[in-house]
Amino acid sequence: MTYKDLTERKTLNIALAGNANIGKSVIFNQLTGMNQCIGNWPGKTVAKCEGRVTFLNYDFNIVDLPGIYSLSTYSIEEIISREFLIGEKVDLIINVIDGTNLERNLFFTVQLIGLKLPMILAVNQLDLVRKRKIKINLDKLEKIFKIPVIPVIAVHGRGVHELLEKTIEMFENKFQIPNEDFFKFGKEVENGIQKLIEEINNYTDELKDIKYPSRFLAIKILEKDDELIGKIKKLKPEIVDIAAEIREELEELHGEDINTIISAEIYNRIHEIINQSVVYGEKQKKATWADKLDHLTTHSIFGYVLLFIILFGAYWVVFIVGDIVGGWLDEIYEFFTPIVFNIFGDNIGTNIFWNGAMAGLFGGVGGVLVYVIPFFIVIEILQDSGYLPRAAFMMDKFMHQVGVHGKAIIPLILGFGCNVPGCTACKIMETEREKKITAFLTTLVPCAAVMAVIMGLVAKHLGFIYVLILYGIDFAVIILFGKLATKFSHEPQTELIMEMHEFRKPNTSVILKQTWFRSKEFVYKAMPLIIIIGMLMEIMLMFNLLEPINVLLQPITVLWLGLPVITGIFLIYGILRKELTLVLLEILAVDILGIALSEFMTPIQMFVFALITMLYIPCAATIIVLKNETGWKFTLKVTFIEVGFALLLGGIVNWGYIFITGGG
């Protein structure tokens, strides 16, 4: 590795790395003042969170990496992280570790040190360490690893800025590189690694594109790291062959596979280090509230009762709050309608503005935001408290029925709020196969916008029982597609392996900030669209431009689905945002035609319309994230399957109804 000239630069690039759920994001937010990356489920920080801060005349670029346990290729997050770290852009790693859980955390530290980048060890959660009467000798750790160790209590902001001070100090002293003197493998393994390093060093020219330090590379090749072996094979296949020989020898000698040997030796060394530097106090016997809650949420009966109550309770709260606040908004709109028309007169401009733009705005706020905001709050509470991994634990068995393991329940639950964060969360699934199936199923989950349509149309006009029927259909569809996807995928199913953390009191400010952040994004992206489309609708209606499109769609909408001809265009708008289907329906019937929705559509038409809206396509935003996560090909496949299936099912319901009632 070559050294970058650091003397002139005043910008320092820092990466925060460490296991999941140990406080990286809290530190990140403390430093950069952004609040986008706090969470509590395994591997939460999936997106690359990047922030800037200026401190003591230096500009810092800080990246919050996903929580991982190793630098192998087990999950996509691990690959992303190690590629990012070894790329040109990192001057220093801040390895955040959980002081209450040093053994597991230091395993990753050992791997990071192997990257030979300047590094600081941030020992976090020292408040809990003290509470549990653990004594950590930080000086000793510093001496052993030969890297600076900083005590941190992230939630109180303690030690956080010392991290930057230390970075500057290290920078001004030309950045020391950590060395690996503190740890050598046993004689046989070490000899094998040395042999491989020599081999690698013989071909520095051929391997110049591989940025990893040779020792790190040697260990990885020995470990059968599929990604690096693939690369080396193209450049210098001999190295791979030699590695295979060494590996075989070692495995024979130890009677174990190489990864077990290597991991065991690292863990043994860590055990020694901990014996030298940590003293554990007596364990408290008293069960805390967190223990009790943990017990209850994983209980074989109450656990499921609670899961049920939480999910439906969430829905109920969201519905009640949304309904009340939505009602107020409707009243406000109706109160002002005559006033506006009195002042501005009944002309084209007023119509476009009030019946188009403002109706869209009120419809968008009233119909959607009032449901979305409470839902985000509930989801954030579940996430921040640490409940979601419990749901994964309890639902693992069931999720296997649809071809994925328990963690998939997390994107699915998030999908109820909005499919977009749901799909993004699919990154926590370790393999492509799991990720794709989970993402597919997540797009079938009825999100808050769909819920708004179902509530506003079906609950209001047909009764709650039909809401349950619709949801029942949706769950059946999810199970059906899950089973089909499992059948058609050839790769084997992965088993659940996940870390489970203690319950925590959710942090109010974190929850409010997260909710604000998500809602803001929703408003910025959706509102302009809704307003513009509302106006467009009004204009197109005035000039009769909707006719041709509706005529084209007529065979499907009218003949097959039995819907009013105008709904074709609504379904097309609904692709942009699903709640638009209802918003536009209300604008047309109530505001433009001046009749009640129940006069405009028959009950069966409402039911079919809601069913189609629920299933027919993921909205535009979801399509975009789905594409980012899984690629265009898969996204198009999912889209076609869902459109086709929704139309099929809608027609069957329509014709089934006609058949049963004799055309009534």
Partner: protein, 76 residues
């Protein structure tokens, strides 16, 4: 020797062998589940769901099928 899924709640065993495939085995090894490690079973999910164990100071959840492939000796 017994498998992890059959270990009683609150009992400990020392891992002797892991019979899983390469990927899962590597993952488990990275998390400290290697021969010689002490593992304490905390609970298992209902209906033969996954098991939760304490290992190297933190709690891990392991799918039932995988737990069946982890063998060890009871600590008495």
């Amino acid at each position: 020797m017994i498998t992890l899924d059959l270990l009683q709640n609150n009992k400990e065993f020392i891992v002797r062998r892991v019979h899983a495939g390469w990927r899962a085995k590597t993952r488990l090894a990275n998390l400290g589940i290697v021969p010689g490690t002490k593992v304490k079973k905390l609970r298992s999910a209902p209906l033969f769901g996954p098991v939760q164990v304490k290992v190297k100071g933190s709690d891990l959840v392991i799918g039932r099928g995988l737990a069946r492939k982890i063998l060890g000796e009871l600590v008495t």
